[in-house]
C-alpha cells in the first residue's frame, strides 16, 4: 500500500473516532491537529459542520493529494443510530421560550423585541410578561376595535420616529415585514393592550378599596446623597418644620419657608433635591406612609441616602386618575402572581 493510501486509511480511522458532539468539537480539533502534525506532507485540515438545532456535528478531513488537488474525507461509523434520528432537531429548535401554553419562536421573539418598552425590567422578564398576556388572549379571536388598532399603530410609529408613510414603508423594508404582516403585528399589540386595559379596569377598584392610603395624593420634598449630607439636610428640614407648620399663607407660605431651607441645603452641595406631587405608593422610602409635616430619614435608599418631608397629603378619592393608578398597580401584582405560578422554560440559555 502506498504512503498516501496508508494515510487515507489512517484519516478514516481518525474521523471514525472523533466525538460527533458540538460540546466536544475542541477535543476533535485537538485530535485532528495531532494527526495533521504526524502527516505534515498532507497539510490536513478538519472541517466542522455544526448543524443548527442539534448537538450532532459532522466532520470532513481535507488533505492534499500528492498528485495535485484536494481530497475530502468523511466517515460515518455504523453506530446503530437511524438516519432520520441522526438528522433530527431538538423539539424546541427555533423556539426561544415556552411559558405555559405559549411557545415563542425566535422569529416571534425578534418581532416582539421591537415593541418592548419598559425600562424598569430586563428583556427576559418583559418577554415572559408578554407571553403570560399572550396566554390570556390566545383564545380571544374577536375583532380588535379600529380605534385600538389606530392607537397601537400610532404609538408604535411615534416610538420609532416613523412620522409618515414613507418612513414606515422604509422601516418595513429594513425589517423584512410586509404591510400585511405589520398589520397583523399591530393587531397583536392592540389585543394585548386591550387585555391589559380591561384587566386594569377590572382590578383597579378593589385594589383601591383594599389600601386606599397608598393612593393618597402627596406633595413632598426629599433629598438624596451621601449619608453625611442627607443627615445635615434632614436636620435642617426638622429645624424648619415648625416654621412651615406655622407659616402664614398656608401651603404657599410653607413652601416659601421650605424654599429657604432648600437654598441653604443646595449651598452645602452633594445632594439632589426633588419637590413633587405623587401618589403615596410612588414616593421613595418611608415618605409614602408619612403624615403631613413629618420629616423622615436619613434612611438608606437604593445605594444612597434619603430624607424628606410630606408637605401635604390628600386622601384618595375614586376619581379617574386614581382608579387608573390602582389598576396599574393591581395589574403588576396580578402579572407577578401569574409569573410565580407559570411554567417557564428557556430553551437556549
Amino acid at each position: 500500500m502506498s504512503d498516501f493510501a496508508t494515510a487515507l486509511e489512517s484519516g478514516v480511522r481518525l474521523l471514525r473516532g472523533l466525538p460527533r458532539r458540538r460540546a466536544r468539537v475542541h477535543e476533535a480539533r485537538t485530535a485532528a491537529a495531532a494527526w495533521a502534525a504526524a502527516h505534515p506532507g498532507l497539510r490536513a485540515e478538519l472541517v466542522v459542520d455544526e448543524r443548527p438545532g442539534t448537538p450532532v456535528v459532522d466532520f470532513d478531513l481535507l488533505i492534499e493529494d500528492p498528485e495535485g488537488g484536494t481530497v475530502a474525507l468523511t466517515a460515518q461509523a455504523d453506530d446503530g443510530v437511524p438516519w432520520l434520528v441522526d438528522h433530527s432537531t431538538h423539539w424546541a429548535a427555533g423556539q426561544l421560550v415556552t411559558v405555559d401554553e405559549v411557545h415563542l419562536s425566535v422569529a416571534q421573539a425578534l418581532t416582539m423585541i421591537r415593541s418592548l418598552s419598559r425600562r424598569d425590567t430586563t428583556p427576559h422578564d418583559e418577554i415572559v410578561d408578554q407571553c403570560l398576556i399572550l396566554n390570556e388572549v390566545q383564545r380571544d379571536d374577536g375583532p380588535v376595535p379600529d380605534e385600538d388598532l389606530q392607537a397601537a399603530a400610532d404609538e408604535f410609529r411615534r416610538g420609532r420616529g416613523l412620522h409618515d408613510r414613507a418612513a414606515t414603508l422604509a422601516w418595513l423594508e429594513e425589517t423584512g415585514m410586509t404591510p400585511q404582516q405589520f398589520e397583523a403585528y399591530i393587531g397583536g399589540i392592540a389585543r394585548r393592550r386591550g387585555f391589559r386595559r380591561r384587566k386594569e379596569a377590572e382590578l383597579g377598584p378593589a385594589r383601591l378599596a383594599a389600601r386606599p392610603e397608598a393612593f393618597d395624593r402627596v406633595r413632598a420634598v426629599w433629598i438624596t446623597g451621601s449619608e453625611r449630607a442627607v443627615a445635615a439636610g434632614a436636620a435642617l428640614l426638622r429645624e424648619t418644620a415648625g416654621d412651615r407648620a406655622g407659616a402664614p399663607g398656608g401651603t404657599a407660605g410653607a413652601e416659601g419657608s421650605l424654599g429657604a431651607a432648600l437654598a441653604a441645603l443646595a449651598a452645602g452641595g452633594g445632594i439632589e433635591t426633588t419637590l413633587a406631587e405623587r401618589f403615596a405608593f410612588e414616593l421613595p422610602g418611608p415618605l409614602g406612609e408619612a403624615a403631613g409635616g413629618t420629616v423622615v430619614g436619613p434612611v438608606a435608599q437604593g445605594g444612597t441616602f434619603l430624607a424628606g418631608t410630606v408637605l401635604e397629603r390628600t386622601a384618595a378619592s375614586p376619581d379617574g386618575p386614581t382608579l387608573a393608578a390602582a389598576g396599574r398597580v393591581a395589574f403588576a401584582e396580578w402579572l407577578a402572581e401569574r409569573r410565580g405560578q407559570a411554567s417557564i422554560e428557556w430553551h437556549w440559555s
Binding site: G94, T111, Q181
Partner: protein, 326 residues
C-alpha cells in the same frame, strides 16, 4: 345521546360543546383514560341479549342509547394508582383496551371519524397514498424504504431537491433531549450516512415547490379548505408545523370543482367520516396530495381562516342523534 371520547383538556371539544348545546343534543364527554381507575363498564349477557353500561362516575350511560360517538383524542386506559407492579399495570391496560374495543364495536352508533382500528389503518401513509393515487390525486414520486441503495438514485431523480419524512410521527431523544424529525430537506451531507437507512424506513419525496399549503377538512360530505401561506416564513416554509403565526397567514380557499368531492371520496373510502387532507398548491396551479390525517387538527382552520368546522361537526353528530345522515 352523543358520546365524546377525548381528553378533558381538549380545546376542540370545548369549541363544539356549545354548538351541541345550542342544538339541544344530550352529550356525555368521557375520557377512556379514566377507565378502569375512575369509571366502570359492564357488558352483561342474558336471555340472548346484552346490555352495556358505562358509569363515568358522574352518570350512567346505556351504550344502546348512544347514536353518535366523536372519537377525538382519547387517552389510553389508565390503571388505578393503587396498582403499582408494572406488569400488573400492563395487564390492566391490556384487559381494559380489549373490553372497550368490544363495547364500542357493539354500540349501535356511527362514529366520527371512526373506531380505533379503522383510524389506525387509514392513518397509515402507504395505505392512504395508494388510495389517493387510485382516486386520481396527483401524488409526488414517493419511496418508502429502508434500503440505503435507494437514497442516491432518489436524490438524483429529484435533481438534488429531495425531502425525507417519518413514516409515522413519533418522539425520541438525542443525548436525553426531546428531538423531532420534521420534514427534512436533504443536502449532500445526508447522503454520506446512507447506511443508517437500514435501521429504519423513511419516506423520500422530491421537494414540491409551493404557492401555498392547504388543509382540507372533510366532515361527512362537507368540505372546508384553509390556505396556509407558509412560504412567507423561513421557519415554516418546509414544514408548516414549525408554526410561525406572526408571518404565516391562513385564509379560506376554494378548491376546484371535483377536487373537494374527491377528498370526500377519499375519506369515505378509508372508512372515515372525518379527515384532514394536506395538499400543496404549486406555483403552476397544480394540487398535489401529501397525506390525510384521520383525526387532524381543525381548530386553526376555524379560528384563523374563519371556516365553521365546529358547526359542521355538531351538525353531523346531531344528525345521527336525529336519525338523519349528512
Amino acid at each position: 345521546m352523543i358520546l365524546v371520547l377525548s381528553d378533558r383538556r381538549d380545546d376542540a371539544v370545548e369549541m363544539v360543546l356549545p354548538k351541541l348545546a345550542a342544538r339541544g343534543a344530550p352529550v356525555t364527554w368521557w375520557d377512556p383514560g379514566e377507565f378502569p381507575a375512575g369509571s366502570t363498564l359492564t357488558a352483561a349477557f342474558a336471555d340472548g341479549a346484552h346490555r352495556i353500561v358505562l358509569d363515568t362516575g358522574s352518570e350512567r350511560l346505556d351504550l344502546s342509547e348512544v347514536r353518535a360517538v366523536w372519537r377525538r383524542r382519547p387517552n389510553p386506559p389508565e390503571p388505578a394508582a393503587a396498582v403499582t407492579d408494572p406488569s400488573h399495570r400492563r395487564h390492566v391496560v391490556w384487559q381494559a383496551e380489549f373490553l372497550l374495543d368490544g363495547a364500542w364495536e357493539l354500540a349501535p352508533a356511527r362514529w366520527l371519524p371512526s373506531r380505533r382500528e379503522v383510524e389506525r389503518r387509514a392513518h397509515n401513509k402507504i395505505i392512504h397514498m395508494a388510495r389517493a393515487a387510485e382516486l386520481g390525486f396527483r401524488i409526488p414520486e414517493t419511496v418508502y424504504t429502508n434500503d440505503p441503495a435507494e437514497l442516491v438514485p432518489a436524490y438524483e431523480r429529484a435533481g438534488g431537491e429531495l425531502i425525507a419524512k417519518q413514516i409515522n410521527s413519533d418522539e425520541f431523544t438525542v443525548d436525553g433531549a426531546g428531538h423531532r424529525a420534521y420534514t427534512t430537506v436533504l443536502t449532500r451531507r445526508h447522503l454520506t450516512s446512507r447506511h443508517r437507512l437500514r435501521y429504519e424506513p423513511v419516506i423520500l419525496q422530491p421537494y414540491v415547490r409551493k404557492a401555498v399549503e392547504l388543509r382540507v377538512i372533510v366532515v361527512g360530505g362537507r368540505v372546508f379548505t384553509a390556505e396556509i401561506d407558509s412560504q412567507a416564513s423561513r421557519t415554516a416554509r418546509d414544514d408548516w408545523r414549525h408554526y410561525d403565526d406572526d408571518r404565516v397567514s391562513y385564509r379560506a380557499h376554494r378548491l376546484p370543482d371535483g377536487l373537494g368531492r374527491r377528498c370526500v371520496e377519499l375519506v369515505a373510502s378509508l372508512g372515515l367520516t372525518y379527515g384532514a387532507v394536506d395538499l400543496i398548491l404549486t406555483p403552476e396551479g397544480e394540487y398535489v396530495f401529501l397525506e390525510i390525517n384521520p383525526n387532524g387538527a381543525w381548530g386553526f382552520v376555524e379560528e384563523q381562516a374563519g371556516l365553521p368546522v365546529s358547526d359542521a361537526i355538531a351538525d353531523w353528530l346531531v344528525a345521527a342523534e336525529n336519525g338523519k345522515e349528512s
